[in-house]
């Protein structure tokens, strides 16, 4: 079987972002049919036929014991043991996914193990779902459709926009502790603004916001993206990550509050000034964060006013 040509060097950043941002729990089937260990293979055959599925997890009280697939049923029919209990013939050495893993893991597993389905466990090892390649394809198509719709809408907008500045939109991926590339996105953004001949002070405000948000992604998040869009009125910067989120978002805006470790502080970061700096230079600022989920910071800077001055 050829490997899935989805994760490689040429993959567009949107797709990479998608499969890292989406989690297994976002794509998995949650309405599960589970059967107890003592069910007969014949009962399982009936369930598969009725529900049009090709595999059934054997589980009791959300604890997973094994899986019976269509192949096992065919073998049972051939071997004449279709009336025996499932537990004697189920696959017990299971490869499982955890619900909080990024979708990229599921895709890699599909590639690596060639199973049709993977049971999904919660942190507490409870069976919470099943992922098939169909589930993955469905969710990817939904998201890609949304993105295409957005792009098409933007293309129309772009044509409509006057030729003065034109609009600009870009998204950069930021990885945890990747100090090597930290600042790259902000530098690109600054170059773009310079090419638009904006006021130097304005450029600096955008650069401060972009850099602090970029560094935050590198220092504090498990990774995420920095997106910037520029039109005639606004520069909008959105930093969105996939966790860990803040326990108390109001603390993060207090000058001097930081959760950074000593190593990060020794590099000159983590002084608890990042988000307050961003807020100060922004005309509009918002922070949304949920512990164990993620954080989204939006900074908007009005560039229209200054142009008229």
């Amino acid at each position: 079987m050829t490997s899935i040509p989805l994760i490689n060097d040429d993959t567009p950043s949107f797709i990479l972002e998608l499969i890292f941002l989406l989690k297994v729990k976002d794509v998995m089937t949650k309405n599960l049919i589970m059967v107890p260990r003592n069910s007969s293979l014949k009962e399982l055959q009936a369930i598969m036929k009725e529900k049009r599925i090709t595999g059934v997890p054997i589980a009791e009280n959300k604890r997973l014991y094994g899986i019976i697939s269509m192949d096992d049923i065919i073998r049972a029919l051939e071997g004449g043991y279709i009336d025996e209990p499932a537990e004697n013939y189920m696959t017990k050495n299971l490869i499982v996914l955890e619900e909080d893993m990024p979708l990229s893991f599921a895709i890699n597993y599909m590639d690596k193990y060639h199973y049709g389905r993977f049971p999904v466990l919660s942190l507490h090892k409870e069976l919470v779902g099943i992922v098939t390649s169909r589930d993955i394809i469905n969710q990817l198509l939904v998201n890609i459709n949304q993105e295409m719709a957005r792009l098409e809408a933007n293309m129309v907008k772009k044509e409509e926009a006057d030729t003065g500045i034109g609009s600009f939109e870009r998204s950069f991926l930021c990885h945890r502790f990747d100090f090597e590339n930290a600042g790259r996105a902000s530098t690109e953004i600054k170059k773009k603004l310079k090419s638009m001949h904006l006021d130097r002070k304005l450029i600096r405000r955008v650069a401060v916001a972009a850099y602090e948000l970029e560094i935050n992604l590198v220092v504090h998040s498990q990774g995420g993206s920095l997106s910037v869009s520029i039109d005639n009125q606004w520069v909008t910067i959105v930093a969105a990550d996939r966790g860990p989120g803040m326990k108390d978002p109001s603390q993060a805006l207090k000058e001097g509050f930081s959760t950074a470790n000593d190593w990060i502080r020794s590099l000159g970061f983590g002084a608890g000034m990042g988000l307050p700096n961003v807020k100060r230079v922004s005309d509009e600022f918002s922070l949304e964060s949920k512990w164990e989920e993620g954080t989204k910071v939006t900074s908007r800077i009005n560039i229209a006013d200054k142009e008229n001055q």
């Binding site: 600042g183 902000s186 600096r204 650069a207 000159g268 970061f269 002084a271």
Partner: protein, 110 residues
């Protein structure tokens, strides 16, 4: 003042020349990059001991023309490479931040 006055008048060591149009009009002394980002004036010299690539990124974004590394801190190659690309001057001196700030302030006043 011209950036090269650091070399000519204070005998500080030039590690990277920076932009040909670069000047020093002000100074800022800090090792906290967020503080620098938020508060350092443009066209200033950043007096610091933070000798790494991210300092260059901050300087470039904040419009700082020159980084002065104090206490004779070694500058990694990748820092100097980035400085060359971003046209940020990098100088080095034996002085600590207090002394360097005082001496540069004198130059700027004079």
């Amino acid at each position: 003042m011209k950036i090269t006055e650091l070399k000519d008048k204070l005998k500080y060591e030039e590690l990277c020349g920076g932009s040909a149009q670069g000047i020093i009009e002000d100074g800022y002394t800090s090792d906290l990059l967020s503080d620098v980002m938020g508060n350092a004036p443009e066209d200033s010299v950043l007096i610091t001991i933070q000798a790494h690539k991210n300092t260059v990124a901050v300087a470039s974004l904040a419009g700082i023309s020159t980084i002065l590394l104090c206490n004779n801190r070694p500058a990694p190659d990748e820092m100097l490479k980035a400085a060359e690309q971003e046209e940020v001057a990098v100088y080095r001196c034996q002085d600590n931040q207090f002394t360097a700030s005082w001496r540069i302030h004198q130059l700027l006043e004079g």
